[in-house]
């Protein structure tokens, strides 16, 4: 632990990693609370896995066709927003079983990503960092992008907090009171998609859903209102990413996996110790 803090002073990559974790925690607390109370964890998982498709396509275009502007992060944003919109639309419009639809997108998103990445020269490392995250590779520019998206998410959530809460609690009633419920549902999915993209850089696609939902789920056991639940979830997320990072540094473990294990342990502990 002590070595981590010494290293933190010396190495800017660790400072970036720490800052990224703290920034992402803000969105995580807010959006995670929506996802948990509205019970769309599985939908968020589907969106996360579609992100691989977007990142794979973008990386392929960059390397093979020289589209320098098409960064994996941009591909991730497009894929996440697209998946959120399509899955949400099917959920509202079609009378399909939504979990089946999500599964289809979940698998197809991954498959598209794997196909494109396998055709991209030198793919091995990319694939690993997309799937499992690499918080130590966060650059200063990444931090700016993360901060920008963070600001967008927090501002939207603050301005429309009452609409989001109403749509999560009782969508039909909100609609009867003149709230454009589908609009706020889609907006909530869009915020979820952006948050997923932010978190992918830290813990990777496969584990993002844990870090998105478990801090909110833990907070939900102690808080009886949405606002405090969001605040506590954000604090928990910040503590968990920081401690995961610190614990993984000395033994040189993958930071993402350490953060997830830690989060899971805390969650299971609260389930066992504090029965509702």
């Amino acid at each position: 632990m002590g070595e981590f803090f010494q290293a933190l002073v010396r190495h800017s990559f660790l400072q970036h990693a720490l800052l990224a974790g703290l920034l992402v925690s803000l969105s995580c607390g807010i959006v995670g609370t929506y996802v948990v109370t509205r019970r769309i964890t599985y939908l968020a998982g589907g969106i996360a896995h579609c992100v691989l498709g977007g990142m794979g396509v973008a990386r392929y275009m960059q390397v093979v066709h020289g589209w320098a502007f098409f960064e994996p992060l941009l591909g991730a944003v497009i894929a996440a927003l697209g998946a959120a919109f399509i899955i949400g639309w099917i959920n509202i419009r079609a009378k399909e079983r939504i979990d089946t639809v999500i599964s289809a997108f979940w698998g197809m998103g991954m498959a598209v990503g794997i196909l494109f990445i396998s055709k991209t020269p030198g793919y091995g490392e990319d694939m690993m960092s997309y799937l499992f995250g690499n918080i130590l590779l966060v650059t200063q520019r990444d931090l700016l992008i993360i901060a920008g998206l963070d600001l967008l998410i927090v501002a939207t959530a603050l301005l429309f907090h009452k609409q989001f809460v109403a749509v999560c609690f009782d969508e039909e009633f909100a609609r009867l009171r003149g709230i454009n419920a589908p609009f706020f549902y889609f907006l909530m999915l869009a915020l979820t998609a952006l948050t997923v993209v932010l978190m992918v850089s830290i813990v990777g696609i496969v584990m993002v859903i844990v870090l998105l939902t478990l801090p909110a789920a833990i907070a939900g056991r102690f808080c009886r209102r949405m606002g405090p639940m969001m605040a506590l979830a954000a604090v928990l997320c910040a503590l968990l990413t920081t401690s995961g990072l610190a614990l993984s540094y000395q033994p040189d473990l993958p930071a993402g996996a350490a953060i997830i294990i830690l989060t899971g342990i805390v969650y299971l502990a609260t389930v066992v110790l504090k029965r509702q």
């Binding site: 109370t37 019970r39 301005l159 009452k162 609690f169 009633f173 009867l176 009171r177 209102r225």
Partner: protein, 246 residues
């Protein structure tokens, strides 16, 4: 003044399954009406048509002279409470405040006026001391009254309640109807319910919904209504009798 509810020659079906046929119904201002009928008879469908959540295949529905989508701003609606997540993290006051949506400003938190009105309504339903309590810790009857306060805080002129007493014991149910009777001095009240026997002492009019709609003034409450409520075979018995006499 335009009547709170006016329905003419309405037909509604889900696919080719007919749910409501040739419905005509008019409810005047400040009436206290009870809607009864068997499960699957079309009560909830009729409410959803009034709220503009469903469109009829034929006929017209008007709410205070407007189409339901426009008129529903005047309706305070209490859904069947089973469909809400009982663990959702809101307090009683938070839940009531949601009734101010559509009346309050679009951006930012609820205003001081919204809060004052919500507290007033909680007071009205006798829950002022529980305003800060989480909804999850309230009893079924208390939760039902919170949702009634939520319906009232939007300043409705018509109150639609879908089976408000389904999970309540007799004492709480009587209290609830006393509250509705008091509210009825200012607004029109329509209650969907199963237990006609008890309600009949409160209401002006009983509307039986079983594919068709029949209206009975309370003075007529007798086994005819029970017959209307409980299905085809009862009608058949009556037709047979008419046959025999004719």
């Amino acid at each position: 003044m335009k009547p709170p509810i006016h329905i003419e020659n309405l037909d509604f079906s889900y696919g080719n399954i007919s749910v409501l046929e040739q419905v005509n119904l008019s409810i005047s201002d400040k009436e206290f009406v009870c809607m009864v009928g068997p499960n699957g008879g079309g009560k909830t469908t009729l409410l959803k048509l009034l709220l503009g959540l469903l469109e009829p295949q034929a006929g017209t529905v008007s709410v205070f002279g407007e189409n339901p989508t426009a008129g529903r701003k005047w309706i305070g609606y209490l859904p069947q409470h089973a469909h809400l997540d009982s663990k959702f993290p809101v307090t009683a006051l938070d839940a009531v405040l949601m009734g101010r949506l559509g009346k309050t400003r679009g951006i930012g938190p609820y205003t001081r006026i919204d809060r004052a009105m919500a507290c007033d309504m909680l007071n009205r339903v006798g829950l002022e001391k529980l305003a800060k309590r989480p909804l999850a810790t309230l009893s079924g009857g208390q939760r039902q009254r919170v949702l009634i306060a939520r319906a009232l805080v939007s300043e409705p002129r018509l109150l639609l309640l879908d089976e408000p007493t389904s999970s309540l014991d007799d004492y709480v149910e009587r209290e609830l109807y006393d509250l509705l009777l008091e509210l009825n001095e200012e607004l029109t009240v329509v209650v969907v319910t199963h237990d006609i026997g008890f309600v009949s002492s409160y209401v002006d009019k009983v509307v039986c919904v079983n594919r068709q709609v029949r209206i009975h003034p309370t003075s007529e409450i007798d086994e005819n209504i029970i017959h209307d409520m409980y299905g085809e075979h009862v009608h058949m018995v009556r037709h047979d009798q008419e046959h025999g006499h004719g």
